[in-house]
Symmetry: C2
């Protein structure tokens, strides 16, 4: 096995030597070709993904659109070219005591990137997902360790990417697909000397293991592991008074979408005790009761869900508000529970993510306790405020608390459904991710796979296009402190 | 001790709650005040630093100018404000199937940053050095662990910063100064739950230890450790033919500046065997013989230098070209050695940095061997090409090799003397640093201490100024994919 994996990484490294120089416009063609090839797979892709995940076919029409959309978004980003953050400080010959040299900086790709796909998003967060798309956009070859819970889907996608590689006449090592159930494969690839970075989406235990493997290397490498969170929601009184039925409907859908198997699932909802909060809780339970129970992705996730529920629901301070008790192989019953804030604060088990269609309402005595609960939570991908302007103006300190704990603050909407945009942050303080300075969704995700390189007094003919005097790519650059697309001089 | 350090970190965290909101213009006042207070210390600072480091007073006039200059440069950066990389994607109400929410991203500070100063730059890379200046600019409180080899200098600088804190009426926890010889202090502070990031400049063993402490935390934090390198220089024939005497003079100065105690010291010089390379070697030896021997910073560094030399010079394949054999307490004799490429390739000891006034000329049989030697080197802060345009045009592949190994590529100059500019990269692949995606010198150093935060559908009155519709700060923002300083609408 080691020999085989060595060959994979050597091929990826070999590919890097040419792929790193691929122009933005060629990378655009390549990323478009991948999207085209994925779409050309037709319904068989959707049906295969559905069969392997127990999620409905229609869901994969949406996920495919997202996957191809983000490939094309990254294509436009690198074709435009300003993403490399070129900075130029020109020579000052008469500076005393010494002349100031000409210094020019540009982002360059790190090298072969290892991607671990997520079981819950076999298209958008896996083989051709955001990690792969952003790494290829950056100029890094990608080695995907296929998720063992959707091997056929992963193979189909890998085949589409390989076709695009051939069509665009790129090096065969630009994309490689490694299968295997053994955790050892992931460890060996993470610790391989030619691996330059890792993208991971999955559980806290899995992500932390990968992070630790990387940290124990002789040469540590960046690992961006997105490991989910409880995505706390703060429910304000005025909002509940005005919109409880609508909010209940939205959140019932958000808690159960994808059988609750979203890393942005709202697992904890916090409010101050009141009749309107009670009313909302009843409405939410009612809405949940109208959602059918579905099968989860695989046995491991289902077992973890049941065990997680057991831990929480047997706590004598926790009240089960709604429990569907649906039966069937791998079927997950939606569950809504409620707990008083002081019980919640005392029991760390209640702070952990329960991956599945579950949410816990935490009832606080007053605002001070609500703040304490919120502050007690660990790092999150998102936190959501359900609040009218009146609520927010009455509590100007609360947005501040939101800033402290999460990468994205959502106002009056649900945290599930992460937009792919220029401004997206799908990241956050640990344990949401292993490096809160980056995001795995949206255009900024490309920054994980590059490093800055500085040319000092470099002759013009050796400079990369991004740094040439005449700015042949027409990109935005910071020149002597000013942002401009103009050529120098 | 633990109680004391707890109090330090709690005070820093408390300060963070207000300091994070300090406007760019107030941070500018503060950074200027620090520079002013450092200058106000007058000659006593220079004399103290000189006494504690055995380096000449005049050197500290220059280092003070650099230190105050970079504080003011960061001040201008944050006062201008565009460094936060604001990105806005506005709402698309009629998008199908769902409206596209309004998403706005801005950089926010990480939290209290721990800074380990360097023994070799008590001003520019220590208490008020680049790590401190960039973290304060980012909006992060700083805790400096003073370097035990220049305690008085560190205290003087800490006093100046504290005066500036008071003058600007900032929270007392914005800057704190911790002393102590025990390595345990650094470990406890690195692993403290309230520490959000670490900046380190020093040895590979020290930097790696700090990195490992951080990686073993329950919540890992970013560590940027700059650990030095051998800064390989490639000597081309045409350049040597035309400029050997001048190059020899420049490099003799570069090898011995600061008694060789620069992380960018040119420790390895690589060329192809020729009479002109021999001539250059003789000239370099001659130039070195005219440099007096000086005392090193402290006993530990001196001992390491002697041991490093012993390891290298007793290798029977290594020829000592020049060895000053100066005597005296802590005195370091400049040394120039020469080795054939095949011997060099076989002995890993010859690849290690020898911190002091030492350089090793590696003589290759031909260009292929030169490339092999260059590629065999580990990650570097810099690599330098001494080459005419003719040399470079004859070997178009060589700039490529340079890109692979270093953070900065210098053409026809010495690697020592790192400009503080917008385009500076003082970073590089491991073991030069622990994260090649960042720099510790230049304006981009501020990026180490921030994370992106996304506001989704946030009411205007709650948005930070950087993201408000009317762009009150007038900063450059990426709005719906286009860079502009215009208000929205």
């Amino acid at each position: 096995m080691i020999n085989e994996l060595n060959k994979v990484m050597e091929l990826a490294y070999d590919a890097f030597q040419s792929y790193r120089h691929t122009s933005g416009s060629r990378k655009k063609e390549f990323l478009f070709a991948i999207a085209d090839e994925i779409e050309a797979l037709g319904d068989v892709l959707l049906e295969t993904a559905s069969r392997e995940t127990h999620l409905p076919v229609v869901r994969f029409a949406g996920e495919r659109a997202r996957t191809c959309g983000q490939l094309r978004d990254f294509a436009h980003l690198v074709a435009e070219g300003s993403w490399v953050e070129a900075v130029i400080d020109t020579r000052i010959a008469d500076r005393k005591p010494l002349p100031k040299p000409d210094m020019r900086k540009v982002a360059v790709p790190l090298g072969p990137i290892l991607v671990f796909g997520a079981s819950n998003f076999p298209l958008a967060y896996s083989t051709a997902g955001g990690d792969t798309a952003s790494a290829l956009a950056a100029g890094c070859p990608v080695v995907v360790k296929a998720h063992p819970s959707h091997p056929e889907t992963s193979r189909l996608i890998a085949g589409a990417i390989t076709k695009a590689v051939t069509k665009c006449q790129l090096h065969a090592g630009v994309f490689q697909h490694v299968e295997g159930n053994s955790f050892e494969v992931g460890k060996i690839l993470t610790q391989h000397p030619l691996t330059a970075g890792v993208g991971f989406t999955g559980s806290l235990s899995g992500g932390r293991a990968i992070y630790d493997y990387a940290a124990h290397r002789e040469s540590p490498i960046p690992v961006f592991a997105e490991m989910g969170s409880t995505n706390p929601v703060i429910l304000f009184k005025d909002a509940l008074i005005h919109r409880a039925p609508e909010i209940a409907k939205q959140f019932a859908a958000s808690i159960t979408i994808g059988v609750g198997q979203f890393c942005t699932n709202p697992g904890i909802m916090i409010g101050i005790k009141s009749s309107v909060l009670n009313h909302f809780t009843s409405l939410l339970a009612l809405e949940l009761s109208m959602v059918p129970a579905y099968r989860m992705l695989h046995e491991g996730i289902h077992k973890n869900y049941l065990e997680g529920l057991d831990k929480v629901l047997y706590d004598k301070g926790v009240e089960t508000v709604y429990h569907a008790h649906a039966a069937g192989d791998l079927v997950a019953s939606p569950v809504l529970a409620r707990v008083k804030a002081d019980t919640f604060m005392k029991n760390p088990d209640l702070h952990h993510e329960i991956f599945g269609p579950f949410s816990l309402i935490v009832v606080c005595d007053n605002k001070q306790q609500l703040c304490e609960v919120w502050e007690s939570l660990k790092g999150q991908l998102t936190t959501t405020l359900i609040a009218t302007d009146h609520d927010l103006q009455s509590h100007p300190d609360l947005a501040e608390k939101a800033v402290n704990i999460a990468g994205r603050i959502v106002f009056n909407s649900v945290p599930t459904g992460v937009e792919v945009s220029n401004a997206t942050v799908h990241g956050g303080p640990y344990p949401a991710t292993t490096d809160q300075r980056f995001t795995s969704v949206g255009m900024e995700a490309v920054k994980r796979w590059v490093r800055p390189l500085c040319y000092q007094d470099c002759p013009g003919f050796l400079l990369p296009d991004e740094l040439k005097d005449d700015n042949p790519l027409g990109i935005l650059r910071k020149v002597n402190g000013n942002y401009t697309r103009d050529p120098l001089g």
